[in-house]
């Protein structure tokens, strides 16, 4: 989407280089947050000596003040025209809150682990670092509206003077996250504090833990040491077109992109809830028709509100109906995408028992060649996998605990005779139930913040009765 080069990723982060403006970067859909990468190094050597470690870390982060000056001006140019008011030192210029944590020193970033190569190379996701945006591009953008803030650094005492010079103070906060070997020696708070103090000393900035102008993120783990600053005040995952949020928009978008929605397609979410999946899909692939069904009045009302806010009334149709008995003709949809409700939040009891009935209806309304994309909890997914075990599987993989990166299985012959060893376990389940017409087409692990979940994809290869 942003024509990036040098794409590189590890679990939870994607690094890339792009010569794109903020407007374009803002349109990245499957990343939670976007950062400008300042440094990316090998993991720091770990020694038992705290003082030494802190010193190492500081030397990683601290630079000549001029360097920071440049960074700040780049950053300001990028965000400058996004800000409603231009006065950076004014707190709460934006009324919307950031999704980021309140705890100051630990950055609890929600990340999505992307296992599919194709998806990653197509779209840049999760946290991305953008290096060296071509300067020509930037100058052609609207120049910063903020005129009062010069890029000179205030003297150290500048921040404290309320009357004059209050505009010149620049506040910051360091958010640190560490894991792996480093975490055993130091905790994020110590690191954050040390870096913060050093920056104050060196650059004369003001530390503000509540609402800083700039937040500096430092991630230290066994894979790399990364320093970055966010490009936007709000996380990418915040959508201006969603009034009431349900499933997180990045995962919803990813599910929709797996569904292979083409122009003129009919797409159904039979347990649509607040409609997040349909909204993301309809925004990204507007040349299709979207239907949503749910049994809950309150959810449908929320969905209706979201659809109106997003201006997608003519694209998304809502029904009050049960996924176990859909009032829809057989083989009428090209895609069925759904986040199967789980957890105590939802009223559905024994949802795991309902799974076969749910899948049966989904399969029925799907046309041959169509796709099903489901979001399953760890529990549901075990059920799906475990059902294969009960039925006496012929595949040794069937009983395996869900591994988070089960690769896309190849389509099988419909009678299920061939059974390559590395079979996606979802396939065994379906073979034993009545769903021989559905073949697995991939499993992707995603993080929903506190929990993990799995996106399962299936394709219908023949009519239901044909086996």
């Amino acid at each position: 989407r942003v024509f990036s080069s040098e794409v590189d990723w590890v679990s939870g982060k994607v690094f890339f280089r792009a010569a794109a403006g903020p407007g374009e970067l803002r349109r990245l859909r499957s990343g939670e947050r976007l950062f400008l990468l300042l440094k990316k190094h090998r993991p720091l050597p770990v020694s038992g000596n705290k003082g030494k470690m802190l010193h190492e870390i500081k030397s990683l982060v601290i630079e000549e003040p001029k360097h920071w000056l440049d960074i700040i001006s780049v950053w300001r140019k990028l965000c400058g025209h996004k800000e409603k008011t231009d006065d950076v030192s004014q707190e709460n210029t934006l009324t919307l809150k950031r999704k980021s944590e309140e705890e100051t020193n630990t950055a609890s970033k929600r990340q999505k682990t992307e296992q599919v190569r194709a998806l990653v190379s197509e779209e840049c996701q999760v946290e991305a670092g953008e290096r060296c945006v071509a300067p020509e591009r930037m100058s052609s953008q609207e120049c910063w509206i903020e005129n009062k803030n010069s890029s000179e650094f205030p003297s150290k005492g500048g921040g404290e003077d309320p009357t004059a010079n209050e505009k010149l103070s620049f506040s910051f906060r360091v958010s640190c996250r560490c894991s792996g070997a480093i975490a055993k020696i130091l905790n994020p708070q110590e690191i954050g504090r040390a870096i913060g103090i050093a920056l104050v000393k060196q650059c004369g900035w003001r530390a503000d833990l509540r609402d800083p102008d700039l937040e500096i993120f430092v991630h230290l783990n066994d894979i790399h040491s990364v320093v970055g600053i966010p490009l936007f005040r709000l996380p990418l995952a915040n959508r201006e077109y969603i009034k009431t949020a349900g499933l997180r928009s990045t995962v919803a978008w990813a599910m929709a992109s797996l569904a292979e929605i083409s122009a003129g397609a009919l797409v159904l979410d039979p347990m649509c809830g607040l409609g997040t999946i349909l909204l993301e899909a309809a925004k990204e692939w507007p040349e299709a028709c979207y239907w949503g069904a749910d049994i809950s009045d309150s959810q449908l009302e929320g969905a209706d509100g979201n659809i109106r806010t997003a201006g997608l009334m003519d694209k998304i149709e809502l029904l009050k109906a049960s996924v176990k008995a859909l009032p829809l003709p057989s083989e009428s949809f090209d895609s069925v995408i759904s986040d199967i409700p789980f957890g105590k939040k939802f009223k559905i009891t024994n949802d795991a028992q309902l799974l076969p009935a749910i899948l049966q209806e989904m399969e029925r309304v799907l046309r041959v060649g169509g796709t099903i994309v489901l979001l399953l909890s760890q529990d549901l997914r075990k059920r799906v996998d475990g059902l294969a075990e009960c039925a006496g599987s012929d595949s040794p993989e069937a009983a395996a605990d869900g591994d988070s990166g089960a690769a896309a299985a190849e389509a099988l012959s419909v009678d299920g005779n061939s059974s390559p060893v590395a079979q996606g376990v979802g396939e065994s389940f379906l073979r034993r139930r009545r769903f021989r017409s559905l073949v697995p087409a991939g499993v992707h692990a995603v993080s929903l913040g506190k929990t993990d979940a799995f996106i399962y994809k299936y394709r219908k290869v023949c009519a239901a009765g044909a086996w």
């Binding site: 049994i295 449908l300 209706d304 809502l318 029904l319 009050k320 109906a321 049960s322 009032p327």
Partner: protein
Amino acid sequence: KIKLGHPSELPPEPLPNYEEDEEFLRRLHHVLLEVEVLEGALRCPDSGRRFPISKGVPNMLLTEDEA
């Protein structure tokens, strides 16, 4: 069959040559694509069963017996 009680009434059945009837086509387009039923009902032509529409959303949940 659509009962609207609406000025742009449609004839009970399409007249022959309806493809050329501009006025009819315009009304049909209006009803199909521009009218949103907020309160009303859908009726199954076979069973006669009514599915009420409330706030633009038809309720198509079946009862225990129907399912």
